[in-house]
């Protein structure tokens, strides 16, 4: 049996888990192609008009998988990864949104709820639907979940050591990239790591000799420590992670500036943005928002990133000069 996994949204956070899980159960795993203009175009055409571009891209990936004669497309419903905190409502409605695409697609969808105590999504009770639908035994499922969990924790450990997710997912010998300045990049995995949607942003940074740190590279306890400072937290899991990470970045001396990459029309991000704008100024950290949508011209991204790094470098060199002058 062939299980298709769309290369979009949570793919960038959970692919090692899903791949191991299905392969351990004896299934073949097929992913959609890398995001491309045709995937974006078809997603934009078929998805609900008002939705954010990452959801449209996801729709494009689902349709791309249908061409690969898969038996099922795996579209879990992420509900909660922490007690009392939820995922963005679009994630909760995602399987239904895909079911609404056309008649008959429902039979191709493998879905179940994920309600978890943490980002470790290996709790058995979430997956019991596999027993009937995929015809696997409880024992095999338990074993497969354990293997998947181990593999995912391994991936996360490397990720937190500073390897970016694209390196880990695409290369056997992942590399770390350094630079003369460091930027804290605040954004969801699907905005940071989808090279097509974000105009290959990480590569733009690399060419400008900039080191990038992202939320997925942070230890979760550090994020949680920052979040404790707030009277109350956001309703959405990954939004909280971005917020906690951003405040950590504001306090860290080795972070020279913060960039928030956000999809046009993202509701949760619209609440994060004012926090970052106001408080990064208080912390005297240069801050900028990059907004991505359906556009494919990259010059606006390059202009902004270039100007932002000029600003940081001038500031940094000036500070160093003053130090030299004093000595």
């Amino acid at each position: 049996m062939k299980i298709g996994i769309p290369k979009a949204l949570m793919y960038y956070f959970y692919y090692p888990f899903w791949k191991t899980l299905f392969e351990s159960l004896g299934f073949e795993v097929v992913t959609s192609d890398d995001t491309s203009k045709s995937i974006l175009d078809i997603g934009v055409k078929e998805a609900v008009a008002e939705i954010c571009v990452p959801m449209k891209v996801y729709t494009g990936h689902v349709l791309n998988l249908l061409d690969k004669s898969v038996d099922y497309i795996y579209i879990p419903r992420f509900v909660s990864l922490r007690k009392g905190i939820f995922m963005c409502p679009k994630f909760m409605g995602l399987p239904d949104m895909i079911k609404g695409l056309f008649d008959g697609i429902e039979n191709k969808i493998l879905t179940h709820n994920i309600v978890s105590k943490s980002t470790d999504i290996s709790e058995f009770h979430n997956y019991t639907v596999f027993i009937d639908k995929l015809g696997v035994s409880r024992k095999d499922l338990k074993n497969a979940l354990k293997k998947a969990r181990d593999k995912w924790l391994e991936f996360r450990t490397l990720n937190k050591q500073g390897y970016d997710i694209n390196e880990l997912l695409t290369s056997d010998k992942p590399k770390k990239y350094e630079g003369d300045i460091t930027i804290g990049l605040i954004g969801y995995v699907y905005n940071v790591y989808d090279r097509f949607v974000n105009m290959d942003l990480l590569n733009v940074f690399r060419k400008l000799n900039i080191k990038v740190v992202t939320f997925d590279m942070m230890e979760e306890r550090i994020i949680q420590r920052q979040l404790k400072k707030f009277k109350k937290n956001m309703f959405w899991e990954f939004t909280n992670m971005l917020l906690g990470t951003a405040y950590e970045f504001m306090e860290r001396d080795d972070i020279d500036g913060i960039i928030h990459i956000t999809a046009f029309g993202c509701g949760p991000d619209s609440i994060v943005e004012p926090f970052l704008t106001i408080d990064s100024e208080k912390h005297k950290k240069p801050f900028m928002t990059l907004r991505i949508d359906e556009q494919t011209g990259e010059s606006h991204v390059i202009t902004r990133v270039e100007a932002f790094t000029d600003l940081i470098r001038i500031k940094k060199y000036k500070a160093e000069k003053t130090v030299e002058g004093v000595i």
């Binding site: 203009k37 290959d200 100024e281 202009t303 270039e306 100007a307 600003l311 001038i314 500031k315």
Partner: protein, 320 residues
Amino acid sequence: MEKIYIGVDVGSVSIKVVAIDENNEVLFNSYVRNVGQPIDTVKDELAKLHNELATKEIGGVGVTGSGRQLLGYILGADVIKNEITAHATATLQFHPDVSTIFEIGGQDSKLIIINDGTITDFAMNTVCAAGTGSFLDHQAQRLGIKIEEFGEIALTAKRDVRIAGRCTVFAESDMISKQQYGFSKAEILKGLSKALVRNYMNNLVRGRKLKPVFVFQGGVAANIAIKKAFEEEVGHEVIVPKHYDIMGAIGIAMLAKDEMKRTGNSTKFKGFEVSEEKFETTSFICKACPNECEIIQIKANGKVIAMTGDRCGRYSNSVI
């Protein structure tokens, strides 16, 4: 022989070419509308520059603006930099005490904040061009007024009229209904000026505390009504620099000069012969992958000298 430095700013609406000397004095300047043939326009302007300053040696060339990569390649630029850094560099030269720069061009608008002579913050318009020169151009055209006369006419308005500035489509329907109510053209123009500034404050300033000295530059700074609307908004004098419309080009020329002095290299400028070469631009859709990029190919005298538009580098890396 005395050295000069050339700055070229290839904007979406206009093209600016300047030459400065060692002391940043502007020896040559030109501002022409970009009618879709940027390469030819730059060629023509460079030929004029060469005519006027034939005895000088070219010390360096800088290119900025949205078309900077391609033109920079064609000219053999020493420095290719974004327009924000270029603008701020020039402003700091002429007004060293500046704190706030309003820059409004054809298709984008910028806010640059300076502290102690260093850029500390900037903002650019995001999704829409309602608060830019193109918006004014379009509305002036609708009212049958030359853009050059816009400011003067607006200043003769006796009453205030509020026009929605968030979106060109809404502004237009608002304008039509206000005209039907009997407001004069001058009053409508004044309303548009205020709408543009309101939109700018809303989209770019976004609650930042702005400090004087204020400098307003870019093509739209020619419009005295907008300058006045800015002054009313910030409650302070706003300076429009002498070279307001070519600041980006001056700034990039200065950056080229600094770069050449810092490195001690000689310029990579391909020479004025470039203005005699025949350039031809063609494009095709690459079918190698599902991205289907539009590849733009530039030929000089029949030889391919630059290719761009591909995401993967298949073509752009193949031409050196």
